[in-house]
Symmetry: C3
Subunit: 468 residues, 3 copies
């Protein structure tokens, strides 16, 4: 037996969004707003969720989590008609049915729970959600009786002056007795425009002498419906602020919450510090006492304790404890930077493991490489991993010293403790503890001999790293 | 015949700005505030605009659009005196004269229109603009008669308690019957300080039994005068918010409007998405479904549909459809990046055309170049376009592969399908489908021969691109 | 004789901060909040300041300015007990004792002054600081008598409905008659929990028939206590806004104050312009008419008049007048950039002097160098200052032209007017007005000869700078 189900209305066109994307798919804090509604219902332990689609049905259905029921309303004949269609997918054994909209994305789970509880515990055939707002103009007013139950929903156009003064509005979110809803949803009369409206179900219930109870949302701002992108931006700001406050209360310093974006699933350790202009997206995990920002952009990455990432971009990468990344670094997908590394200015790393304590301080590119511990990577170093056809790997052993402007033509291995001279073009593997110089790079002894042949003396050319 | 004219008062010193720049030239949303006033008057179809200058007259006059009348008030003897001076440039045939201030920059065109209409349609010799504010302290109060017309303007110092409680203030913007103004502006009595004030014209009119009507601004915050830089920052914020909301209502997603600056003339296509920390300046044009930001800075540039520009700077450049720019890229003036290009980390392009599908993924500099389609530009590539005396051009043919750290010493041509080895210093043209290596770079066959002469084998050195 | 002293309570644990750092050490505008309190007291000319520590005493004491008295409260038995402990360090000759909290960091100096004055000038044994707030829930209410003096402090739990309606709350900041305090602080009765509370001193005074006067804070928002990081972020925002407004009123344009952070000690010249997303930290000094930002991060640096720094990071560095830095530049500690320099994209400078008018436009690294006037530093240039063991110096003379991708292997000197070819690896000093090319670089005449020997012609290789 299913105790509770929810019908989520997602058929509307949302013309005021002026978008090719269906309204309920517009993202909020990085996810389609419809998914926020479905998540909140799931957290409220609503067992069955049915999405009623219409405009843009294919796009909306494609965005739904696997296994979630969707049913199309065609043609779109109003909200009551959409609920009628939705009920065809609600299991017969269901006792309570929440009806809510895919474009009211901030309703918290506990509000759905309160609505369920209100309807389930009493004899009301429906409980409706109300909100007290500063300016109720344009909304349906909730008229209460002496017991505090709903006596009527009066639309703006039908309201006299006294009713217009009522500041409590109908949010458009309800919990119904399932049997009553099933029996009555088909009886809603058509409006002048030929559409069927959910608010007329309230009138039906009241006319039949049934009780309609009211739950007032404690925070009216969370009942907002998204009708245009100005409202969308407002909802985004509210949601971001909620997330930031949750982290702050848990022991994270966020210097300027208004300039920071944190996705819902991000985890942040205690005493971490988020500096202004920072974005933490996806399922990123930030370690204790890490300092992120200013101006860091971290996507789906793991940052170790006490690491510092600033003025840099980290995407699908990991950073070890006590490492420093930035400024102007870019860790691309697959970059795994070890503990205590210093990755500096204009350093780019892609799909590479970097060992502990390694330094890459300056403009340089390391891709498809495995770099050991305590390596020094000089300014201008490039792992030339692409030959125009495929990508090749570079291996650099522990303690190697890669001189400035070294080109490492992959596939190539630089042995532990080896050195490359400034400007070296390394086309062959370098044995451990060997120094190579030149273009192409050769071990320094060999070069000296051949250079001598050519009347040259290159033996002063072994330097060439660069440093903080 | 000129139906309407406007006199814009711009003679004041603005000492509280504490600036060497005359107050009315301080920029708001990128333009001197005086120009916002002149624009709004033009949009209200005011035919003749006269600017009265005084302090900093030369600077102010230099900032005016061509053909706009300016007249100097010397000495500066108050606002009524300034209007008297301004009237010397108002055509005799003018019927209605708006008087407003160059430091009240947010008044919208339709408010000037409403003021004109109010004065022109009735028998009032002047219509004045009023605003209802939360705290009227310090402003002249508008006292109304039973018909809603102005009965008096009472300054703070002359106001009794009842008058002080009036929340409607005089903005200092008027529309006059031109003939009446011309006849009476010289009759304003001198104040104790020897200056002549416009508000005394109201008293003159009322004393003569003439009607003074009132237009109340629907949005009082737009009537703000800029007296210091705190007010300037507030006006900037209001103006930015207006612009952002206009785009959002037209179908542009702006994730965090408070962190975004968009200049007034920017155009943005539907379903474009503006991420946080982004600045769109000048006459930039953003295509449909483009994603700009986070942290993009776009100045006077054209971004194609579906392109993505992030964490980068684009100045007087163009980006083709579906291209990706960033992070940490800089497109400088004259950069024309083709469709589907990928311009990546620390890539700088100046005064160059880049063909379709070309990739420049890493730190590199391309200047004064013409680059074909589907070219790969390796990490560290430099078009050495400057020889210390002049700038020279680089041409790169379709499908060329520029190896890592290639120096292209301009003027030079790299043929279609040609390749340069890592570290190549290319001083001569490279024929199509030819590979060059070395310093200076030579075709690989030639080098092998000469290298052999020198006892070397360089033939493994052809690799060296790098890739995403 | 010491006229006034202050006891600053800093013993609390601050569990709602959820931090390993003691609450009073959490930074606000870059400094521990406790130091803001101590500074304000110093500005109010309070002669002796005593900090009472408890939880985290060692950390707190380590953060105190030299010479400041600290005394430990062990065990922590409430605020009155803390004051009793603090009094052991207050000189006997003291006449007035301010008591305030280390977690109420925004109280301005003049408010301490007003409190001192109120207590010192009359016959009250104590003056307490009150604030009128929108929602007094949870705070002790200040009940006044007919003279406006305090008749009682009533805690929330003890308040009847009428008292709860009082919007004036007790901030927890007092000025006492020193003799009275010393005589009475030991007489505070223990609370049910065994702790001793300061508010009970008020009751003691009133019961003894002594006068307790009240000073109301003109700006209630500055009386906020920091109990969690949400409050911390709010205080940060308030403090930042105050600082920004101070600069704006002094003649600095701040385009979007909400996106800008300026530390308290930063100095900014008139008509400087601070663009959005900019951070000015430490004791930075910004010259007149400089433009900083957008997105500049300046730490403890000096920026000259009319210089422009944008999208760059400047740390412990100096920038001369009329210089342009950025975008994407990094001036690291010890960078001294001369007047009229152009330091551009991805240029990094560390511990180096750069002469007037020098250009470094592209990706490059200059470290431990002394660079003359009017030098051109080509793209890809690296001063290879680190040989794996120590750092070495590079000297570049006036008017030198460093070709693209030049490696300057330090220690090395490039003479005035000398040139390096593209890709040159410079391992030896270059005499003035000499051109060197190749790897290793040699004067061009020498190379031509030896190159000829090897069947090569390198004489076209002298170009290779790059330019804006």
């Amino acid at each position: 037996m299913v105790a509770s189900a929810a019908i989520v209305l997602a058929a509307g066109q949302g013309t005021r969004m002026r978008s090719r994307l269906p309204k309920v798919l517009h993202p909020l804090a990085g996810r389609p707003m419809l998914l926020h509604v479905l998540d909140a219902l799931a957290r409220a332990s609503v067992e069955e969720r049915v999405v009623v689609t219409g405009h843009g049905a294919e796009q909306v259905e494609a965005a739904l989590p696997d296994g979630l029921a969707a049913v199309r309303q065609e043609p779109q004949l109003g909200t009551a008609d959409a609920v009628r269609v939705g009920m065809t997918r609600v299991p017969a054994s269901t006792r309570h049915v929440i009806v809510t909209s895919g474009d009211v994305p901030l309703l918290p789970a506990d509000l759905f729970g309160a609505l369920l509880h209100e309807q389930a515990e009493g004899d009301a055939v429906m409980a409706l959600l109300a909100a007290r707002v500063g300016d109720p103009t344009g909304y349906g007013r909730v008229v209460r009786d002496a017991d505090g139950d709903c006596r009527a929903i009066v639309e703006e156009t039908d309201a006299d002056e006294a009713t217009r003064a009522i500041a409590e509005i109908n949010v458009g979110c309800y919990c119904f007795d399932a049997a009553w809803l099933r029996a009555n949803v088909g009886d809603v009369p058509a409006s002048a425009s030929g559409e069927f409206y959910l608010t007329d179900l309230v009138a039906l219930a009241l006319a039949a002498g049934r009780r309609v109870s009211v739950v007032t949302a404690p925070r009216a701002e969370l009942t907002i419906g998204i009708n245009d992108r100005v409202a969308l931006a407002g909802a985004e700001q509210l949601m971001r602020r909620e997330i930031a406050e949750r982290h702050m209360r848990a022991g994270v310093t966020i210097v300027d919450p208004s300039s920071v974006r944190i996705d819902a699933e991000v985890q942040i350790g205690q005493d971490a510090r988020i500096e202004p202009g920072t974005t933490l997206l996806g399922a990123s995990v930030i370690g204790q006492e890490a300092v992120i920002g200013p101006n860091a952009h971290v996507v789906a990455s793991r940052i170790g304790p006490r690491a510092h990432v600033w003025a840099s971009i980290v995407e699908e990468a990991s950073v070890g404890e006590d490492a420093e990344i930035g400024p102007f670094s870019h860790l691309r997908p697959g970059a795994e930077v070890g503990p205590r590394c210093r990755i500096g200015n204009y350093a780019e790393i892609k799909n590479s493991r970097i060992g502990a304590g390694t330094q890459q301080h300056h403009f340089s590119y390391v891709g498809d490489a495995d770099v050991g511990d305590d390596v020094n990577i000089g300014a201008g170093t490039v792992t030339a991993n692409y030959d125009g056809e495929q990508k090749n790997a570079t291996l650099i052993g522990d303690g190697a010293f890669i001189g400035s402007d070294s080109m490492l033509i992959a596939p190539v291995t630089i042995g532990a403790g080896a050195r490359t001279g400034a400007g070296a073009v390394v086309t062959r593997d370098v044995p451990p503890n060997t120094t190579v110089v030149g273009m192409p790079a050769r071990p320094i002894e060999l070069r000296r001999r051949s250079a001598t042949t050519a009347g040259e003396d290159r033996n002063t050319q072994t330097g060439g790293g660069s440093t903080p």
